[in-house]
Amino acid sequence: MTRYSAWSILKNALKGNRDWTPAWRKPEPKSSYDVIIIGGGGHGLSTAFYLASVHGITNVAVIEKGYLGSGNIGRNTTIVRSNYRLTPNSQFYEKSMELWRELSHNLNYNVMFSPRGVLNLAHTPGQMDTYAERGNQMRLMGVKSELLDRDQVAKLNPGLDVSGSARFPIEGGLLQPDAGNARHDAVAWGYARAADQLGVDILENTEVTGFLKEGGRIVGVETNRGEIRAAKTGVAVAGSTGRVMKLAGVDKLPIESTVLQAFVSESIKPIIPTVTTFGAGHLYVSQSDKGGLVFGGNIDYYNSYAQRGNLPVWEEVTSELVAMFPNFARLRLLRSWGGIMDMSMDGSPIITTGPLDGMYLNAGWCYGGFKATPASGWCFAHTIANDKPHALNKDFTLDRFKEGRMIDETGRGPTPWYH
């Protein structure tokens, strides 16, 4: 396996690029593994990588129904941040930030983590206070944050309408200066390649059709390529959680699946330096290295497993974007698409042992799964290896809803279509 570097690129170029080898193997499934991870997306692959690299568990299979990274890891708006208000979230996402900063180096794959800053706009003095509260929480947790006034915001993002006559005039904003974004596909490919090098089998086009049970314990899965047994089975399938868990007989979960649309404009020269969010609605926008504006807003509220959305969200998202940046009105939408979000009842994730013996669940990421990819895998690997959660994910239980220990950033309660 070639180690990637400028040197290896040159050497291969001289040979006409004929010697490059597959980034990961395409092995035949073995009959059993120590651990199976269902879901070859970002979280599943990172779990496999940390099982192998941190816990020395290398006899691992990642089982993916389609092509690797075909779910939300390849469909999101790539934002990486840890600007959370509640302690369980802020400490977990900051762990993720730490891993992001090392990721390209650790994977020997450039995931293009770009610490360009994430700016949340505030439109009233009250909202400034809310952001101050969040920014202060971040500071107390050791996370960088800055509260900007209107002039500072205008300087950072020159296209913003900072006039007093704007429908929702900008008062200021909260900046996480070292947050940013990353190249989503590269994260999947980088984890896959690194996990593969450590001996993990990545089984693409392998669909789980059922679970193997012995005395109530999950002991593996049935797939279209035969039975695969394992002492431990982890489920990290994001928008397919409902479907996969039903195969294991878990019919009800505190999750609803909805579609979230994402949008990208034509490529233009750099026009917006940071990731920026609108405070009087729901909109986030940044510019990719290729030059496209990448943006999104609310979910299409109803339950859906279709990876496409509808027109009202287009209208809502574009009208908010051009209200914020009226100079974007002539820029053009190139493409939009949808991904399935498993919305939990409090907007926070689930990383836990169970709910069945021999099974481990990683789910409920709502909008926020991409930035969590490293920490999610890191914590899930710890949970699987030790049969108990790490301190960082001990609050992300499945039982918390019924116990009354919700981790509810927005305070909207068990109405997932509002989170």
Binding site: M112, A132, N136, P414
Partner: protein, 1003 residues
């Protein structure tokens, strides 16, 4: 390529007015063209060959097509606030004074320094960025910093045109349209579908993306009913336009298909003129809901991939033909046609007919039908069968082509046959049906081995395909399939079959099936995606590295991700990958097309919302507040007065003055924004008793009660007073922000949970204006203006509700206090709001009444310890806020059961307290409560929720949520606010800081 305008002759240049002259500039240089030209045809007529640079290697690019599939000819038009990058010159209609610039080049399009990107050669291939820039090989944040440094340089080099830096001055519109049959595409199939549907009396909308409808008919050589197709189509469209049931929209692209036959189309009303007319919208979004649709979007010609195929001068064959026939422009002095199907031959014949010199026709096929052979001979070109173009030559633009033997069965290249001097290669690799719209809905296309193309799959909802888009090539099939689709659509719309009216067709009947040849692989640099510089070798590299699924191919190489979304390149890329994998094309699959069909202005999608994001809600007294100099600010949809600043006063000075006046004298505040719900019915009392956590069953008529509403999970949801106006009638008030949600909450429980209760609900927030009069002199004010109601303590006790009139205005008066002072809320019909306000101001004049804004309102309730939105944050229970006494243990209510869960009764929960600044320092919003000093604050133990300067206590105070706060009154802590660089010593106190016994409000 050195194009030129051909000499005028019959049938040539059908789209342009030969006697006209239009002046325009390209890269600052003056040129002229004709009415009807596109920028591309005009540039071609002026001999401009290099119009753009590619994305990655900055290689010179010429005009490749004649339509919306164009990958190369992207320009920036306008300047200043109207600057518009990445406009396809092939679609841009020429107008007087058009300014266009090439983009993504420096210093000029003919000499671009960034072309150094080509120097690394094969090193700069697919996956380049993933394999490098990982930074120094030691751990730490250095890696991120290294990439961040490189990234900023890369970003500057990437990107196509530059966007405007000022607000777009133009307007956008929206049309909500309904019809029986929507027809997308006004070519032969679309026109026949529209006519057939119209003949059955259907309401029809016919959309076409071009300025002139007609599609392929506009340049067709066939005769229809004895007339040139170009003229026939004009007559038919004129007829259709006269039918009042038919709307023909040109310059209108149907961009996306959504659920339930909803389509988004964008009409370009003013992109063919320099600026929109006064009050004219630039583009209009059509939200079209139809009962059924006919999709007749045609097909897109695709090239054959060969070495050197990106030199300016290489273009699609049918496009080259269209420049000749429609615009009267020859794409070159010497043209060479390279094809794998019959259409290339017809292009050669038609071009030659109008005076273009066709040097050669090169076909990969060994045999062609006699009729085709004859057409080729008509063009007087040298004919090469079983041959291919294997290389091109030229400095920047094309000057010659190498023709070699080629076997279509083995794909092998044989001996060199001839090198031909040419400045244009017109290439045809077959036709790909434009099934983008149906694919957007998730329809998997099906492979047609005969046509070597994917065709749309079976319809899942009410749409029907026709014409080339459905694989029905040729006019005869197009007309027939258009009518057939229309009949199906009519049936779905519940209409009759209508009448058939297919014209008599004279002309070529050819086979559109190409030889299955997508690439001539000679090892040279052969481009698949011309805009993104993806080569055939990049596709094979992706295969070598295991990125073999179509999606991986696309994402790894960026094939098909440019502004053209691979309209002319996806098929070749797929075929090359299939070849590398040794699998048939359909087994490799195809990616799903995503909306929109072509890039769509964001302002156009926002439509009428551009510049009008959300309507403002104003109270009846709004104008008065503004006239009095109030700072108005957006509070959700509402605009509300923050404070009434007198000259020289800051907001803080103003609210302190206002609040102090209320404590000592009297003030009034506009509370019209509060949510108001009329609750009526014999079961209204029972209903409210189930909704509120405190008892409402026994509230007497003429009394109000403060109530708490919980979510079913036990969290506080909203609060407010509800007044019993009559035995079966209540007026509920809610918080301003919560009004909508409370209404939904009540309706849900009434309709879904307890449908047996007889209760009617109506939102009356906008029907009632409300004014709160507060302060020790508030009763005096009322006495001075209310004359038919006893407002004494006996006549109107605390929480009493009475009907009265003020200045002739019928009002309800409730004695409620949010401020903690003696206070009244007076409600009247919204239309009387200003008159009521004026009457109260007048009556209050001798008591020095002042209006107060939101800041003072908030200050007064903070001092009193009354909770509001910031404390009701969706994470607090009544117990957390010291309102446990309002949770009835005698009844079931929404939230009662889950509020009993243990976690809600732990002493460590965040509980409501107040804090006071000890040393006079300001406490600002968003502070956290900590034990440590500024340098080492320690963990957060809580946070402030509502903060102000208290004129009553003469210090900064705040309500706060503190872990175990109930037991911590008297504790000294710090309110830390590092983002505002503040760290204030505070004392934890009871939230009831002013008049804890309530004597003032009860008095």
């Amino acid at each position: 390529m050195s194009g030129f305008r051909l000499n005028l002759r019959e049938g040539l240049g059908r789209a342009v007015d030969h006697d006209s002259k239009i002046n325009f500039t390209f890269d600052g240089k003056n040129y002229s063209g004709r009415v009807g030209d596109t920028l591309a045809s005009a540039l071609m007529a002026n001999g401009v060959s290099i119009v753009a640079r590619s994305f990655k290697y900055h290689r010179p690019r010429g005009i490749f097509s004649a339509g919306s599939e164009e990958p190369n000819a992207l320009v920036t038009v306008h300047s200043g606030a109207r600057t518009e990058p990445n406009i396809r010159a092939t679609e841009l209609e020429l107008y007087e004074g058009l300014e266009a610039k090439s983009q993504n080049r420096w210093p000029s399009v003919n000499f671009d320094v960034m072309a150094v990107n080509q120097l690394p050669g094969k090193a700069f291939s697919a996956g380049f960025y993933y394999k490098t820039f990982m930074g120094p090989s030691r751990p730490g944040h250095k890696a991120t910093q290294f990439w961040w440094f490189c990234e900023q340089l890369i970003r500057r080099a990437a990107g196509l045109g530059k966007g405007a830096s000022q607000a777009d001055p133009d307007k956008y519109g929206r049309m909500n349209a309904f019809c029986d049959v929507l027809v997308v595409g006004a070519g032969a199939a679309g026109i026949s579908a529209a006519e057939r549907a119209a003949s059955a009396g259907a309401k029809v909308i016919l959309c076409d993306e071009s300025a002139v409808a007609g599609g392929a008919l506009l340049s067709s050589s066939e005769l229809l009913d004895g007339a040139l197709a170009h003229d026939w189509v004009a007559d038919r469209l004129a007829e259709l336009a006269e039918n009042e049931n038919v709307t023909v929209l040109t310059r209108t692209t149907v961009q996306s298909m959504f659920d339930d036959n909803t389509y988004l189309a964008i009409e370009r009303l003013a992109d063919h003129v320099k600026t929109p007319g006064k009050h004219q919208v630039r583009q209009r979004a059509w939200n079209i809901r139809c009962k059924s649709a006919v999709i007749a979007t045609g097909a897109i010609e695709r090239p054959i991939v060969f070495a050197g195929n990106d030199r300016p001068g290489v273009m699609l064959a049918d496009s080259a033909r269209r420049y000749v026939v429609e615009y009267g422009v020859s794409p070159g002095r010497a043209v060479c046609v390279f094809t794998n199907n019959d259409t290339g031959w017809l292009a050669a014949r038609d071009m030659a007919k109008y005076g273009v010199i066709v040097e050669a026709i090169v076909d990969v096929r060994k045999d062609v039908p006699d009729a085709i052979r004859a057409a080729g001979e008509e063009s007087r070109a040298e004919i090469f069968l079983g041959a291919a173009i294997t290389a091109t030559s030229g400095l920047q633009t094309l000057s010659g082509a190498q023709i070699s033997e080629f076997s279509e069965t083995t794909g092998e290249v044989g001996r060199k046959l001839k090198k031909i001097g040419c400045d244009c290669i017109a290439v045809s690799g077959g036709w790909s049906p434009a099934f983008h719209l149906t694919s957007q809905q998730g329809e998997k296309p099906v492979w047609d081995a005969e046509l070597q193309a994917f065709l749309p799959g079976e319809a899942t909802s009410s749409w029907h395909v026709a014409g080339a888009m459905a694989g029905k090539f040729g006019l005869r099939h197009a007309f027939r399939s258009g009518e057939e689709a229309a009949v199906k659509a009519l049936a779905e719309a519940g209409l009759g079959e209508g009448e058939s009216d297919v014209p008599r067709i004279e002309g070529d009947e050819i086979d559109y099936a190409p030889a299955p040849v997508f690439e001539i692989n000679t090892g040279g640099k052969a481009f698949v995606d011309l805009q993104h510089d993806v080569t055939a070798e990049d596709v094979r590299l992706a295969h070598r590295e295991g990125l073999v699924s179509v999606e991986h191919l696309k994402r790894y190489t960026t094939l098909g991700m440019a502004t053209d979304q691979g309209k002319t390149s996806n098929m070749s890329g797929l075929a090359i990958m299939a070849e590398a994998r040794g699998k048939p094309i359909p087994d490799v699959g195809t990616t799903r097309f995503r909306p929109p069909y072509t890039p769509t202005a964001l302002g156009a999608i926002a439509g009428d919302a551009y510049g009008h994001l959300a309507s403002e809600r104003l109270t009846p007294m709004h104008d008065w507040h503004v006239a009095e100099g109030a700072n108005m600010y957006a509070n959700g949809p509402w605009l509300r007065p923050e404070s009434y600043n007198r000259s020289g006063e800051s907001v803080e000075q103003a609210y302190i003055r206002e609040a102090a006046t209320v404590r000592k004298g009297v003030g009034l505040v506009d509370v019209s924004t509060l949510g108001k719900i009329d609750v009526q019915g014999p079961d209204a009392a029972e209903f409210l008793n189930r909704i509120y956590s405190n008892g409402f069953a026994k509230l007497p008529v003429g009394k109000a009660r403060y109530g708490l509403m919980l979510r079913e999970d036990g969290m506080l949801f909203d609060d407010g007073t509800t007044w019993r106006l009559d035995e079966n009638r209540y007026l509920m008030t809610t918080t301003t922000a919560g009004a909508g949600q409370v209404m939904e909450h009540l309706e849900y429980h009434r309709d879904v949970v307890w449908p047996d209760l007889k209760v009617a609900l109506a939102s009356v927030s906008d029907e009632w204006a409300g004014v709160a009069v507060a302060g020790p002199k508030s009763r005096n004010v009322l006495k001075a203006c209310v004359n038919d109601c006893d407002v004494s303590n006996e006549g109107l006790p605390f929480m009493g509700v009475r009907q009265a009139t003020i200045a002739g205005i019928p009002v309800w008066i409730a004695r409620l206090s949010f401020s903690g002072e003696m206070a009244y809320e007076v409600y009247c019909g919204a239309g009387w709001g200003q008159a009521l306000w004026d009457a109260l101001m007048k009556a209050g004049k001798r008591f020095q009444i002042v209006p107060y804004g939101l800041e003072a309102l908030s200050t007064l309730r903070i001092e009193k310890g009354h909770v509001a939105g910031p404390e009701l944050n969706g994470r607090t229970t009544p117990l957390d806020l010291g309102l446990g006494g309002m949770v009835s243990s005698k009844k079931n209510f929404v939230g009662a059961t889950l509020l009993k869960r243990d976690a809600f009764h732990e002493e460590s929960r965040l509980q409501l307290v107040a804090i006071k600044s000890i040393d006079g320092q300001r406490i600002r919003g968003g502070s956290h409560l900590v034990k440590g000093n500024k340098d080492q604050p320690g963990q957060t133990e809580g946070n402030t929720t509502s903060t102000c300067f208290s004129p009553e206590l003469n210090c900064y105070i705040s309500l706060a949520l503190l872990e175990g706060g109930n037991a911590r009154h008297g504790e000294k802590m710090f309110a830390t606010n590092p983002v505002r660089n503040m760290h204030v010593a505070v004392e934890v106190v009871s939230p009831h800081m002013v008049d804890p016994d309530g004597g003032r409000m009860h008095g």
